[in-house]
């Protein structure tokens, strides 16, 4: 469900992107209509429509007139590339900051990661 820490339309867009990345939504698969989405998550349909419009703008979804919205064939690849680019700055770097704060060295982290291999 959604929280009110950030606009819901962005949370909707993020949720659908995660579903595309995980494969829960396949390419060329139809997504829920904005009304179905609004009824299911109990949100205003205009908010849902804004989230879907954002995904169309970003090329994650495409529209078929009169039928509905579908996952773009290249959406998963594009999302993966974008997320991989941000992985080190947004995920790894904060880990290093916290590690430094509490006195865990890089060697120790590498050993830990080695165990996960």
């Amino acid at each position: 469900m959604f929280d009110d820490r950030s606009p819901i339309y962005l949370q909707i867009a993020d949720g659908i992107k995660n579903d595309v990345l995980s494969g829960a939504l396949k390419e060329d698969e139809q997504v829920m209509s904005t009304n179905q989405y609004a009824a299911f998550y109990r949100i205003n349909p205009a908010t849902a429509a804004k989230g879907f419009a954002q995904l169309v703008d970003e090329g994650v979804l495409y529209k078929k007139r009169g039928i509905g919205m579908f996952v773009s064939p290249d959406a998963r690849e594009k999302l993966r590339a974008a997320r991989r680019e941000r992985f080190f700055t947004e995920v790894v770097d904060p880990v290093l900051v916290e590690a430094k704060r509490i006195g865990i060295g890089v060697d120790e982290i590498v050993r830990h990661l080695g165990g996960a291999r």
């Binding site: 959604f2 929280d3 009110d4 820490r5 950030s6 606009p7 819901i8 339309y9 009304n35 609004a38 009824a39 998550y41 109990r42 949100i43 205003n44 349909p45 205009a46 908010t47 804004k50």
Partner: protein
């Protein structure tokens, strides 16, 4: 489009609504928020043509609304008095609504009676506060009026009844889009339904904004007093408190991720401000909170 122009409602020397101008595109769900005595019911009464404004006008698609029968027929205003004969039975009240309301859906009204567990044979005078509100919800929803105004139509309802009410409101709006204005104090539980939010404060219009714009609009910054001071510099402060050398301020500002990263590097922590908190900050008397000792 519903247009309020310079709307003022006065009772003797008391100004309930003070020079409010609003453009409300039709077909949306609006939330009207405000503290007790902020003028919500007076504004809605003028909007529904139940009360002639002291000054200013209400127009529906350009036509002056007051005492225009065509506009009145399209408007359903549900307030806590219910405006029905208390000696009447629930069934009778709904029958009258059926005669008066061109869009009335009796089957839907019957389903809502079941949902709210209302006994049609009961007299209005014998209903509990929550049941009266439920009758109001049935009247408001089953009327399917192009302009539906629900003034705190949840008072006394328990959590289950409120949840049912909100679900029905949304489902029926999706099936039959129309303009719905809902006034409430319970912001958190209904905010997701509102496309736009209107906040009144002391009879004045404080804000009219897309609801989603309010999410993440404010931020709290906590940390060493001088670092907080430096970070907050120049941005509108909604509230603040101190404990020893630590300070927490709530800002009406949406910082960029780079600003947050810079702040975190300076030892600050950040927290979100929900819609309820934002509303409280915006409508609290603007005096500084005393330092907690």
């Amino acid at each position: 489009m519903i247009e309020l122009r310079d709307l003022t409602v006065r009772y003797g020397s008391t100004v309930a609504v003070d020079d409010v101008s609003l453009d409300l595109p039709t077909g949306k769900i609006y939330g009207l928020l405000g503290r007790n005595g902020s003028g919500k019911t007076s504004l809605l009464s003028a909007l529904a043509s139940y009360r002639r404004p002291t000054r200013g006008s209400v127009r529906f698609d350009g036509a002056d609304a007051f005492e225009d029968p065509a506009v009145m027929r399209q408007t359903c205003f549900v307030r806590d008095t219910l405006d029905v004969n208390d000696a009447e039975r629930v069934r009778g009240v709904l029958a009258v609504a059926g005669w008066l309301r061109p869009g009335w859906d009796q089957d839907y009204a019957d389903r809502l009676l079941d949902l709210f567990e209302l006994e049609p044979r009961k007299r209005i005078s014998a209903l509990s506060r929550g049941q009266r509100s439920a009758v109001g919800a049935v009247l408001g929803l089953a009327s399917r009026a192009p302009l539906t105004i629900l003034d705190e139509t949840y008072l006394g309802m328990d959590a289950v009844a409120r949840s049912n009410f909100y679900r029905e409101l949304l489902a029926d709006y999706l099936a039959h889009p129309r303009t719905i204005i809902l006034s409430t104090h319970l912001i958190e539980e209904v905010a997701d339904l509102f496309e736009r939010v209107i906040i009144l404060d002391h009879g004045r219009l404080l804000l009219h904004e897309e609801t989603d714009e309010l999410r993440g609009r404010g931020i709290t910054v906590t940390g060493p007093a001088d670092a907080v001071e430096a970070f907050a510099g120049g941005h509108p402060v909604l509230g603040e408190q101190s404990l020893g050398g630590v300070r927490a301020v709530t800002l009406d500002w949406r910082p960029e991720p780079a600003d947050v990263a810079r702040g975190e590097a300076a030892g600050l922590t950040f927290g979100p401000v929900g819609i309820q908190d934002l509303f409280i900050h915006l409508t609290s008397p603007s005096k500084r909170l005393e330092a907690i000792r």
